[in-house]
Amino acid sequence: MNGIEQETADGCTLIRLRGEVDLSWSQQVRQAVLEALSTSQRVGVVLSEVSYIDSSGIAALVEGFQNARSKGSGFALVAVSDSVRAVLELARLDRVFPIVADIEAIPDLSGTAAWKP
């Protein structure tokens, strides 16, 4: 089922999403991402257990990424599932977002200098 979990370790906040991210709760995802960015300098959104994401879910991630960039915080999508990756590719955003395989690779600072695809 759908769910958001949040954990903080070593100054990095992880938002773990589960289930199908769609219009029915993508606002909650947006809130969670923005709140994490207001308290933490490094935020990762873990998407390994997301089986579906629609454009409203992608929009929440885009907003988080832009917010992080404006503040100079680190932001990345972590362990992206195949179905999420397919949507990111379809939207041609797979090369826009920082996508990393594990938590250690979340950049300290946003921007291309800190993140190499």
Binding site: E20, D22, A60, V62, A86, L90, A91, R92, L93
Partner: protein, 568 residues
């Protein structure tokens, strides 16, 4: 210091080297042999030479394991074909005890059988025999007779013969295993041919409104199930479906006979009840070795308004009409058991309903708990797929069955009025325009597209595009102020999927709904861009009466056909 011990030592070492060289050479010859019979004959010659023996022979156990037969021999007396019971004589003893036998003085040894000598005048003085050992026990023995130099065979000779026996038995064993593999491959080829032959007996799928559709899924290489349909002289259609008891080649052969008998007798238009009676009489005239045949036969008109069936020991036919099931029980015992049997038939007004006839393989399918799904399971299966038209429906049902455990051949014949032309309706659904509805709609769409044979990657993109379209209706057409329903229609026509979405929201200006370029990092307007990228074309129109909007989207797809489900 005497040099004699040193010389003896040197000659023993030379003997050893000679034996090793011989063994290596023999092993290689046997290992690369293509014609074992020829190679063995040469090998036994060389063994006799090497051992300095007057005669040598090779005995092999027969299939029963009770008799040894001489297959190869060299020497003054030809004993090829000589048979010795296991346990008798020196050779029989070597095999029975799986141990080498050394006979120094043959004339005074009770183990030696002298009958051949007395017949031929040959005098056996000394003997050496080693079993041909394998992991599964000895398969024969190697024997050498009389040292040419006179004297008896020594313990060293016995050891060398034992070493020689090893590559010999290995080569024979390998050749036998290779032969078995060849046999198995031949059997498999024969089975493949039989399966292809059986498949070719099933009728071709007919289109343009033909009211019958059959599917056969064999549980093994070959099937005991069958179905067929054909035109009757009066323009109606005759059909049958059946199941021969038992599995395997004999059941499959009987199936071929029964299917042709049913077709032959049914072709004249004989009423179903007497059709079964006549086939039963014919089958009872010859022994079926305890086998019997369950079958259902019938007639129907081209529009499937009226169906007349009779069945012999076949599972009940299931009529499905708008959520209600009616069972038609078999009116007689299986065919081929008792002559003189009669069968009661059923006349069924089908109209727009569907009649499902299925072999017991369908009800015997096992679920995850290894329980048979039974009649209830079949009903639930039919109900789950009832919304789809005939072809995707059967495909969907069988793809579900295949995810369970098939234990028997599974065959199904569907009789219903089929619409000859125009698009096939895959899905019709009305639902409230609310975000919480979308999860269920996506799941329904995935099932429907799977049933239609759409490849998974394309399926997921289509589901995303429909979801985006619905979300736009929810967010922008109805918006926070209005509420209403969405109608989703999915049809398929010649490889083109058409998705239609209707709403009753205030009209939207189509000019304002434009896809924005993809790849831009902004949070708005992505939905339309995704639809535009997934679909071949799409069009948004206000409905003519001014009440709501209509979005029509098209996507050309290549359908994946799955094995064994369709015979075209």
């Amino acid at each position: 210091m005497s040099s004699v011990p040193a010389m003896q030592h040197d000659s023993a070492r030379a003997d050893q080297a000679r034996a090793l060289a011989f063994l290596a050479d023999l092993s290689e010859t046997l290992a690369v042999s293509l014609d074992l019979r020829q190679t063995l004959s040469e090998a036994v010659n060389r063994i006799a030479d090497f051992m300095g023996a007057e005669a040598a022979s090779l005995f092999l156990l027969d299939e029963s394991g009770s008799t040894l037969e001489c297959r190869v021999c060299v020497g003054p007396i030809d004993i090829a074909g000589l048979r010795i019971p296991t346990g008798q004589g020196v050779v029989g003893r070597a095999v029975a005890e799986n141990a080498s036998q050394v006979v120094a003085d043959a004339l005074n040894d009770s183990r030696v059988d002298h009958s051949t000598d007395s017949d031929t005048g040959f005098v056996t003085r000394s003997l050496l025999c080693a079993p041909l050992a394998t992991a599964k026990g000895p398969i024969g023995a190697l024997e050498v007779v009389n040292k040419r130099s006179g004297g008896a065979f020594t313990a060293d000779d016995a050891e060398i013969l034992r070493l020689i026996a090893a590559p010999t038995s290995l080569a024979i064993n390998n050749a036998r295993m290779a032969n078995e593999l060849v046999q198995q491959a031949r059997m498999k080829r024969e089975f493949d041919l039989a399966r292809r032959m059986q498949k070719s007996l099933l009728p071709k799928r007919r289109r343009n409104g033909f009211p019958l559709l059959g599917v056969n899924l064999p549980a093994h290489e070959i099937s005991g199930d069958f179905y067929d349909y054909f035109d009757l002289p009066d323009g109606r259609i005759g059909f049958f479906i059946g199941d021969v008891s038992g599995k395997g080649l004999d059941a499959a052969l009987l199936m071929v006979r029964v299917a042709s008998l049913l077709r032959w007798i049914g072709k004249e238009g004989t009423p179903p009840e007497s059709w079964l009676e006549r086939v039963n009489e014919e089958l009872c005239q010859t022994s079926l070795d305890g086998r019997f045949v369950c079958a259902l036969v019938g007639h129907c008109d081209r529009l499937a308004r009226h169906v007349h069936i009779a069945a012999a020991g076949f599972p009940p036919a299931l009529l499905y009409r708008r959520g209600e099931f009616t069972e038609f029980l078999s009116g007689g015992a299986p065919l081929g058991i008792l002559p003189g049997m009669t069968f009661d038939g059923h006349e069924i007004d089908l109209d727009e309903a569907s009649l499902y006839c299925f072999s017991d393989g369908v009800t015997d399918v096992r679920d995850a708990q290894r329980q048979t799904i039974g009649s209830e399971g079949v009903r639930a299966l039919i109900e789950r797929h009832a919304g789809a038209s005939a072809e995707p429906r059967l495909r969907g049902m069988f793809s579900e069955l295949k995810h369970l455990r098939l234990v028997d051949d599974t065959t199904l014949l569907l009789i219903e009025r089929m619409h000859p032309h125009g698009p096939e309706v895959l899905l019709k659904r009305r639902f409230p325009a609310r975000p919480e509805q979308m999860r269920e709609i996506r799941s329904l769409l995935r099932t429907t597209l799977d049933d239609a044979g759409v490849e998974t990657g394309i399926r997921d993109k289509l589901v995303l595009a429909i979801d985006e379209a619905c979300c736009n209706i929810i967010r922008h057409a109805y918006g926070p102020k209005d509420s209403g329903d969405i109608d989703l229609h999915l049809t398929s026509d010649g490889g083109i999927l058409e998705f239609r979405l209707f709403d009753t929201a205030p009209p939207v200006d189509p000019a304002r709904v434009r896809p924005k370029p993809l790849g831009e990092c902004r949070s708005g307007g992505l939905g339309v861009a995704l639809i535009d990228s997934v679909m071949d074309d799409w069009k948004l129109q206000a409905r003519p009466d001014g009440k709501g909007n209509r979005l029509v989207m098209h996507k050309r797809i290549s359908l994946t056909r799955r094995n064994g489900e369709d015979h075209e």
